[in-house]
Amino acid sequence: MRDVAIIGAGMIPFGRRDEDTLLEMLSYASLKALDDAGMGDKKVDAVYVGNMGAGILQHQSSIASSLVDRLSLLPAAADVVENGPASGGSALKNGFLAVASGYYDYVLVVGGEKMREVTGWRATDFVATMTHPEVEYPYGITLPGMAGMFTQLYMEKWGVTREHLLAVTLKNQEMGALNPYAHVEMTLSRDGIFDSPDAVVNNPYAASPLHLYDLCPVSDGAAAVILCPLDVAKKRGKACVQIVGFGQATDTHTLQEREDPTDLKAVTLASQQALEMAKLKPSDISVAELHDAFTILEIAESEHVGFFKKGEGGKAAAAGKTRLGGQIPINVSGGLKARGHPVGGTGVAQVVDIVFQLRHELPENRQVKDAKTGLTINFGGFGNNVTCFVLKRIEP
């Protein structure tokens, strides 16, 4: 296998982009990544698009071929990769393997979703289509509902408290407010969502014990990267980012079939594979982007990846160990919680954020000092399909 580098990264501001079609969003993000890579007239060999819902939300299929045509990248090979909210991670995996195998040299990977053109309840229903079609979906389960049950169990078994969840909310909103690409550029206050009598109204239960501000927003957005062989990237004479580890694992479709529903085995396995491939330990990671669609997931994933022992993740968040400057800065972008969660785009956006970190190009208030390695977890279904990437800064 060849070593693979990311030589271009781009993202468009997430949010509610009424004026843009899905194809336009994918195009804008792709052009940014192509420009960032300095591709010029160089053609990409293949395009992988991570997208979960164009067929349902936009009544549109074959978006990868449309994108290639739109970007004048003909005759590049084109594929859509659908893997629920891990679609972005899976698309990147396909691009990575294609370059690593030696079959393609230049690959564009873009992930995106346009979710805000339907009402919130239709978007929630769309996301729920990933649940089990016989024993979950027909009974009205939603992802927030699953997350609520998971949180209750996690609290009982591992001692997570609402204070711990609150620490994640406040941290990620604070960081999102500094990120020009974030959907929600708004800080929250402990008083406003927890302490004051008005907090009951401001931050009501969404899926007990989770409250409104424990959930990520429904977003439009897209992000893209350009991959090529590392030896080609090195010839460019500037710092680049290598994909040094990748892992992916699945778990049972339904939560109730798991021996211990609080055990996110796919997160553990995917991160173990990726770290092993990278020959790194969790303690070697400088910065991480974890899939905090719900605040509990940031805490649970931080434990399953191995940043903290089981039962310690919540306490670590509350103690500031996951903040910028802490033991392991997590979701310095604001995470899904504030950057937003256009489902098919998230896995790529996480990697783009880590690329920015490893190239040391973020402003001081978001840059992890001397960041050398980064890790992402893109969480599909309710942990039934998880991808993990480990990235490393390569000096020129």
């Binding site: 509610r16 009424d18 009402t119 929600v184 008083d191 406003g192 004051s196 009598p197 109204v201």
Partner: protein
């Protein structure tokens, strides 16, 4: 313009007696304190300055809501509506939202409009709840007739309370009204009605001293910016 007070008496509807709405303070999710208080007639010109730019924003039907509200505020200013009241929210003195309504008769209220000039902090919901609080707890009405002109309004009023469907025509457009009854209101109150009284004197003084308004571009960005908070 010259006003013939003798003729004016024919043009001005008789008003029902309305006890004042006592101001309250709501802590928003970002920790800022919003003062909710009743607008006086002389406040209207300042309020209109913030409503005006919203009339040209299509997103989420701000144009129709703002245009209608603008007219209703003028009717309030010129004494051309019966028993209308206007409540407003201010943060650091800046106007962040306006709601208005009126007494159709002593028992029934007729809700008009809710305009949030800053978004993402439930300002519209808080002000709508204040409007219902006034109808139910200070005007002691039995019901309020309500329609929504935007999907957000439908979700916030009809779904969250939840309101009761009726076949009573509403003043805004003549469609069937939804209804807030006392029973629905008091059941929803713990979930949806925020605020404490009295308002700390310094905050009240600041709010009453001047109704500040953001510039047009800031208002447009807050309401229709890319982020769509």
């Amino acid at each position: 313009m010259p006003v013939d007070m003798e003729l004016e008496m024919f043009l001005r509807p008789k008003q029902y007696p309305m006890p004042p709405y006592p101001p309250k303070m709501i802590t928003l999710a970002n920790g800022k304190k919003m003062v909710v208080r009743q607008a006086k007639r002389e406040d209207v010109p300042a309020i209109l300055k913030s409503v005006h730019p919203c009339m040209f924003i299509k997103r989420d039907y701000y144009d129709i809501v703002s245009a209608r509200l603008y007219g209703e505020l003028l009717a309030f200013y010129y004494h051309r509506s019966k028993s209308q009241f206007v409540l407003m929210g201010q943060v650091d003195g800046f106007l962040v939202g306006v709601v208005n309504s009126r007494m159709e008769n002593e028992k029934v209220g007729m809700s008009y409009h809710t305009l949030a000039i800053d978004r993402g902090l439930r300002i519209g919901s808080h002000l709508f709840a204040a409007k219902m609080e006034y109808h139910m707890e200070y005007l002691n009405q039995e019901s309020v007739l309500i329609v929504a002109e935007s999907p957000i309004g439908f979700r916030r009023w009809m779904v969250e309370y939840p309101l009761e469907a009726t076949t009573i025509p509403h003043e805004l457009g003549g469609g069937d009204s939804y209804q807030l009854t006392r029973d629905i209101y008091f059941k929803a109150k713990p979930r949806l009605v925020a605020g404490v009284r009295p308002v700390p004197q310094d905050l009240l003084d600041e709010a009453e001293a001047e109704i500040k308004f953001a510039d047009d571009d800031t208002i447009r960005e807050r309401i229709a910016g890319l982020k769509g908070r």
